[in-house]
């Protein structure tokens, strides 16, 4: 790892000021589990690190009548241990418990999980100047694309690696950011950007901005959710495909549905048409299969990842039926 200077931020305000002062030469570090890995692999070599850990105002989980407010620096393990989160948002607990290992969940933060960089091996390999690193081509197109996108890909074909993003999006979460021009809050789906908008970034955060808070609205008592993640190894891994489903089923009829798929597209993928198929109908095995098919109808698999289509269908079917 190349040498760098370290400045601890004591608050959100100080973090923004320090980033401004560094004029693009600094990177913020929360848990550091992804950033330090990138630095050790020589993908990035920032001159300065603005450490967010000392900022006392970014680590909290507040349960209010209107919903949850999660400080971006909250360690993943603390989110999953929170009493109210366990009671009212079991889908988040399910998702967190499938992120990496106990050690990484103790170190990694909620905000960092949303802002982590993709796992595409061409991006992670320092010798591939891919689109994400400002290069000319996406090596996955004619290369090893087993784990790449089947939906919304192009010109870069990464998949978003976050396990928390899809359940949070299904819950209708918003994210708050702080920057030199003040604060802004956007729905999570507006936070992420597709490669065709900007292939170098996965989200809208500016160079001098930090993610400060995740807001999760209160969920009606009749709405239940579940998260399914398929991975290559039983113990721990990034997902091959995941599905977060939040359904309101009363008397066997689905009134409201939100389905968001993970690891299939460069951003969490909302299966909006599948949701429409579910609404107003009696949930049974036949409907679940139909919903699953519609969910990935738009898929354009690459040379090695057609398996993800059937895997995504299985994930959708499984989540829907487990909530029926």
């Amino acid at each position: 790892m190349k040498s760098f200077a370290y400045v601890p931020a004591t608050s959100t305000k100080s973090a923004v000021a320090l980033l401004g002062r560094a004029r693009g030469k600094a990177r913020v570090m929360a848990g550091g589990t992804d950033l330090l890995g990138e630095m050790k692999d020589n993908l990035i070599s920032p001159e300065q690190i603005v450490g967010l850990k000392p900022a006392a105002d970014l680590n909290y989980v507040k349960a209010e009548a209107s919903g949850l407010r999660i400080g971006a620096l909250t360690p993943l393990s603390e989110l999953a241990e929170h009493k109210v989160v366990r009671e009212r948002y079991p889908i988040l607990v399910q998702a967190v418990e499938q992120i990496a290992t106990p050690q990484l969940r103790n170190m990694g933060t909620v905000g960092g999980n949303l802002c982590q960089r993709p796992r595409c091996w061409y991006y992670r390999g320092a010798s591939f100047p891919c689109l994400k690193k400002g290069g000319e081509i996406c090596y996955a197109v004619n290369g090893e694309n087993l784990y790449n996108a089947i939906l919304e890909g192009g010109p870069c074909y990464i998949v978003h690696p976050s396990d928390l993003a899809s359940p949070l999006q299904a819950l209708g979460a918003k994210v708050k950011m702080a920057g030199p021009k003040g604060e802004r809050t956007v729905p999570l789906e507006k936070f992420f950007v597709l490669p065709r908008v900007n292939a170098k970034k996965e989200n809208i955060l500016g160079q001098e901005e930090i993610l400060t808070e995740i807001q999760v609205p209160a969920v009606p008592a009749t709405m239940r959710g579940t998260y399914v993640k398929f991975k290559e190894r039983g113990s721990w891994d990034f997902g091959l495909v995941s599905a977060a489903a939040l359904l309101d089923i009363r008397d066997g009829i689905c009134r409201e549905a939100r389905i968001v798929l993970g690891a299939v597209a460069p951003v969490p993928y909302r299966a909006a048409r599948a949701e429409e198929v579910l609404k107003g109908k009696r949930v049974d095995e036949r409907l679940a299969a139909q919903v699953a098919e519609v969910a990935v109808m738009a898929a354009r698999p690459m040379s090695q990842n057609a398996y993800k289509v059937r895997l995504a269908q299985a994930a959708v079917k499984r989540t829907v039926l487990s909530l029926a």
Binding site: F4, P8, T10, T33, L36, G37, E97, T101, Q103, M107
Partner: protein
């Protein structure tokens, strides 16, 4: 555990193979000049008043109940400090990427990977390594269980496996096999001694 002040510059004169080898390295590792140094206090890590960002800092780390004052670069990992500066070589360097778990230590009682932790950010935390869990020559119950059940083959992953177990049993004194597997998922064993490792954890739960 008793608290003592410990100046790491006053090392024991006992010559071991490791200190002998290290002696050569130290003489060549002359400190660079002209870098900004600053003190990182334990109570606060507020350094915005400093004229610029830190390129070197003096930190006080509390490891196994002892305080150590050291000079570190921001890029120095906790693992490097433990092994290279404090000679606490029970903590192992495996992948150095947060994937294998052999560098596991407990930070305020929770298992973390010391290879992905900056020493400068461990200020003010209780750091517990494998050297800190036994009571002198008397092994910790989890260590005894690993010995009794042969929960290892080569032993390289054992410090991490044992510390992950200490953390698990602190939270859950009688874990199920599924809970044991989950709690130890972040610690790989290349020898594949998993059945004996999991059995060691069950035995440790009884011994405690």
């Amino acid at each position: 555990m008793k608290e003592k002040d410990n100046d790491s510059s006053k090392k024991s004169s006992l010559m071991t193979r490791r200190t002998f080898l290290k002696g050569g390295a130290l003489t060549t590792a002359a400190l660079s000049t002209g870098v900004l140094g600053a003190e990182v206090g334990e109570a606060h890590l507020a350094l915005e008043d400093y004229p610029s960002a830190l390129k070197r800092a003096t930190v006080t780390l509390k490891v196994n109940g002892l305080r150590h004052r050291l000079e570190v670069e921001p890029r120095t990992t906790l693992l490097e400090v433990l092994r290279e500066e404090l000679q606490l070589t029970g903590t192992k360097k495996g992948c150095d990427r947060g994937q294998c778990g052999s560098c596991t230590v407990l930070l305020n009682g929770r298992p973390v990977y010391s290879c992905l932790s900056l020493a400068i950010e461990a200020v003010g935390k209780e750091i517990l390594t494998i050297e800190g869990i036994s009571d002198g020559e008397t092994l910790h119950p989890v260590q005894r269980a690993f010995v009794q059940e042969m929960g290892l083959q080569c032993g390289f992953c054992s410090p991490g496996q044992i510390l992950a177990t200490v953390a698990l049993l602190g939270k859950n004194p009688s874990p199920s096999e599924a809970q044991i597997r989950q709690a130890l998922a972040g610690n790989l064993c290349r020898c594949g001694a998993y059945p004996m490792i999991f059995k060691s954890v069950q035995t440790a739960a009884r011994l405690r």
